[in-house]
């Protein structure tokens, strides 16, 4: 008998691959390099078996790098669950979970132990810096709490050069992350209000697996509940995993956590770290050295041997669902992990997803409520819906909205104008013949970017110079159609001359550190009016912002996606939540062409329950998730017909069963994307168990399908259809 290792490899095949193990001991969970065809691949040993000598010829494991401690059976079991649930090969699940350096057949040597930088006397450091060196001052100010190189680089790209010179001068110090035990005392935790105290108490005293839904209005202090609960977890010697939706929120959250827990080792995991930083953070989590792991969705797959609590902030956020490759929902995996570990999990939101809301209603989740704003005296802002029909307006802005912004500015406050569309205008059009600029690869309009003098496709990245004349009729007087952030910025500047208008969208914050610089300008009061997309909707706390105007919200009301209204409600609630987080009452104005739509009546009631209950009863009647479990097959091909044909063969892999509905292949809402035509096939089941059984039964037949040049994928619990 010889020993063979079953290795999970990053290849699109569901099976494991057997390799002979020569002599040396090999454990399950070990990273190995193995020959695969003409290449060498990195894989993970998922199992060991005895095979009779000579029964088959096995290639041998080439080498064992031992740069990664053995992955635990619990972690492998988590990967297996994810592989089974999302019907994705185990090797690819593991590859998605592992940092990049552990996916390639090269031995990883950590550059140097990660250092934290801090300054005991920030005032003295600031005094040494030029008053106009704003970027340097920003970095210096951040050093009041220990910072990693990654978060300093996020503040300002050349930060590490300044750090090196300040270190040389002895103005600041660098401490290995592992030696951070003795730091400054923690900033004092504020006294929680009674609701916060009850929530902390409930979570801290939970035994075993208890899922909590922390439903708190914007500004109600959910973060404080997380911080105080985590304090109790750390006191018991356990690790806490905190998931945040957006990468832009991680430095903010990291600073808050470091200030509160100076003695704890905090590791952040997100895709903006370089490979080595991410690998080191991951190793710290895996070895149990990290006390708090803070990250975006990918952090949910980090191995955590002493895990004691999982927190998912803004649990309704769509970014927790990965949209390509392994299409997992980090929130759902977080709940699963908590159930496996027998620990509490906290899902927090002001507008919980309807899935979680239903679970809370049915008693599966425990509902914790924070009904009031945490800052004493801070009230929820006043909300008004402005009908744009036959209304007096200038540049598409309602006169009373212009007046409200003017009043806020006169009071010395800031105003936010929200429009969820970047660029100058959604397209460029010829008014005389009706032509408009469309992408040659997608069923989409090209967006006009006036500053860059370009038309860009926001779906595939195709771009071209602004055409001098209409390609159809030759008219040179082409006009921007509609309005995006850049045009709004221009309009506002004309309406409010002399005021500083700051635009924050993906184009204005493309450069590293630009987002933080912009946020800083907002806090420093350098901006009077903010123009922003959904990037500004979440998490930010601007004390002087009291007036919010929302434009072009209506598009969410007439979408073919049944989740669009839920997302719009969440988005508007988040945006409105930016106003009046301090003592002054805020004002929120929403412009609409459809003021009589029931959606706005519910928004005006300011009660998420009313909306959630109505939306849930509609979903129940229509058998939509969460009252059904969905899996969506997507296929892309040069021709729609071949994509549809392929999906018909997929459909035939399923065995009809009561409670299972297998739809017909249909063209996708956006037919063409990046030059390929797209089709989809929906499989709907009464519940998840039935769906999983049907998918598992169809899998062997699907494995035999010949896709040829058709690209296809399976999305379990799709977020968008």
């Amino acid at each position: 008998m010889i020993c063979a290792a079953q290795v999970a490899l990053d290849v699109p095949l569901t099976r494991l691959f057997s390799y002979a193990v020569d002599g040396g001991l090999l454990a399950v969970g070990e990273r190995v390099f193995v020959p695969f065809g003409h290449r060498v691949l990195s894989g993970v040993v998922a199992g060991l078996e005895e095979v009779a000598e000579g029964s088959m010829t096995l290639k041998a494991v080439q080498s064992v790098p031992r740069d990664l401690p053995c992955l635990s059976p619990e972690w492998l079991a988590l990967c297996r669950f994810v592989a089974d649930y999302y019907h994705h090969p185990l090797g690819q699940v593991i590859a998605t979970a592992l940092p990049a350096v552990f996916r390639i057949p090269e031995v990883f040597t950590p550059a140097q132990p990660p250092l934290l930088y801090r300054c005991d006397d920030v005032e003295a450091l600031l005094a040494r810096l030029a008053a106009r060196a704003t970027a340097q001052r920003r970095v210096a100010q951040a050093l009041a709490v220990p910072q990693t190189a990654a978060s300093l680089r996020a503040l300002a790209a050349p930060a590490m050069r300044w750090i090196a010179s300040w270190l040389e001068q002895g103005w600041i110090e660098a401490v290995p992350e592992t030696a951070m035990a003795k730091g400054k005392a923690a900033t004092n935790a504020p006294v929680p209000n009674p609701e916060q105290a009850r929530a902390v108490e409930a979570i801290a005293s939970a035994e075993g697996f208890v899922p909590f839904l922390l439903f708190g209005v914007t500004g109600s202090g959910k973060t404080e509940v997380y911080l105080q609960t985590i304090a109790t977890v750390l006191a018991r010697g356990k690790q806490a995993l905190v998931l945040v939706p957006e990468i832009n929120l991680t430095p903010q959250a990291e600073s808050a956590f470091r200030a509160r827990f100076p003695q704890a080792r905090i590791v952040s995991l997100h895709s903006r770290l370089n490979d080595s930083e991410r690998a080191q953070g991951w190793l710290a989590a895996m070895r149990g050295e990290a006390d708090i792991v803070l990250g975006t969705r990918l952090a949910v797959l980090a191995p955590l041997p002493r895990l004691g609590l999982v927190v998912v902030d803004e649990e309704h956020d769509a970014s927790f669902k990965q949209q390509d490759g392994l299409r997992y929902s980090a929130r759902d995996i977080a709940v699963y992990r908590a159930s496996q570990e027998g620990i509490p999990v906290v899902l927090g939101s002001a507008t919980p997803s309807l899935e979680s809301w239903r679970n809370a209603e049915s008693g599966r989740y425990r509902l914790l409520e924070l009904p009031a704003r945490a800052v004493p005296g801070a009230a929820l802002p006043e909300l008004r819906v402005l009908s744009m029909r036959r209304a007096p307006q200038r540049d598409g802005l309602h006169e009373s909205a212009i007046a409200a912004i003017g009043r806020a500015l006169d009071r010395g406050e800031q105003a936010l104008v929200f429009i969820n569309r970047r660029g100058y205008a959604p397209t460029l059009a010829c008014g005389e013949c009706g032509w408009s600029a469309s992408c040659r690869h997608c069923s989409a309009r090209l967006v006009l970017h006036l500053g860059a003098r370009r038309l860009r496709c926001h779906h595939c990245g195709y771009e071209l110079r602004i055409p001098p004349a209409c390609p159809d009729c030759g008219n040179q007087d082409l006009k921007p159609l509609g309005r995006g952030t850049q045009r709004l910025e221009e309009n506002l500047q004309a309406l409010f001359p002399g005021r500083n208008i700051l635009r924050i969208d993906r184009d204005s914050t493309r450069r590293k550190g630009a987002m933080d610089a912009a946020l800083e300008a907002v806090h420093a009061g350098e901006a009077d009016i903010l123009v922003g997309t959904q990037m500004l909707a979440k998490g930010h706390d601007f004390p002087r912002l009291n007036c919010v105007l929302v434009l072009e919200a209506d598009s969410g009301l007439f979408s073919v996606d049944y989740r669009a209204e839920e997302r719009l409600f969440a988005l508007l609630t988040q945006v409105a939540g930016r106003a009046g987080r301090r003592e002054q009452p805020g004002e929120v104005l929403v412009q609409t062409q459809f003021p009589e739509h029931p959606f706005y009546a519910q928004l005006l009631q300011r009660d998420y329950r009313v909306f959630a209950d109505r939306a849930l009863s509609e979903r129940r009647d229509l058998r939509l998730p969460p009252f059904a479990a969905w899996a969506l097959f997507r296929a892309e091909a040069q021709q729609l017909d071949s994509a549809l044909e392929f999906l018909r063969t997929v459909k035939q892999c399923f065995v009809p069963e009561p409670g299972l509905t297998i739809g017909d292949p249909v063209a996708a809402t956006m037919l063409k994307k990046s030059g390929l035509e797209r089709a989809q096939l929906l499989v709907s089941a009464e519940n998840r168990q039935l769906l999983q059984r049907a998918l598992a039964m169809a899998e062997p037949a699907m494995d035999r399908l010949k896709a040829g040049r058709i690209r296809w994928s399976l999305d379990v619990d799709p977020a968008e259809v």
């Binding site: 008014g431 006009l448 006036l450 003098r453 602004i466 040179q476 007087d477 082409l478 006009k479 921007p480």
Partner: protein, 89 residues
């Protein structure tokens, strides 16, 4: 020309001037003379727009060009596109 009006630019950077021209003349109609007094919207692009923009408001001129529809939906609403013009006196 009534007024010079502000110049605007297309997204591709081409200057465009839109204003109104006044026309006064005597014409023959069905064998009898009559007066004509009308105003027409005009549009000029590029160099012509810049040159028109430099002309003083109220300048008298002869213009040459063509008629085009204001937009797809307003085909009866015509705009005089000016290609050439000559200042008088």
């Amino acid at each position: 020309m009534l007024a010079t009006g502000p110049l605007r630019h297309t997204p591709a950077g081409l200057p465009i001037l839109e204003t109104v021209i006044v026309h006064q003349s005597e014409q023959q109609e069905a064998g009898r003379p009559r007066k004509v007094d009308c105003e027409a919207p005009i549009l000029a692009m590029g160099e012509t727009a810049l040159a028109l923009h430099r002309s003083p408001p109220g300048a008298r001129m002869t213009v040459k060009g063509f008629l085009a529809a204001r937009s797809l939906r307003r085909k009866q609403d015509l705009v005089l596109h000016i290609e050439e013009f000559e200042l008088l006196n």
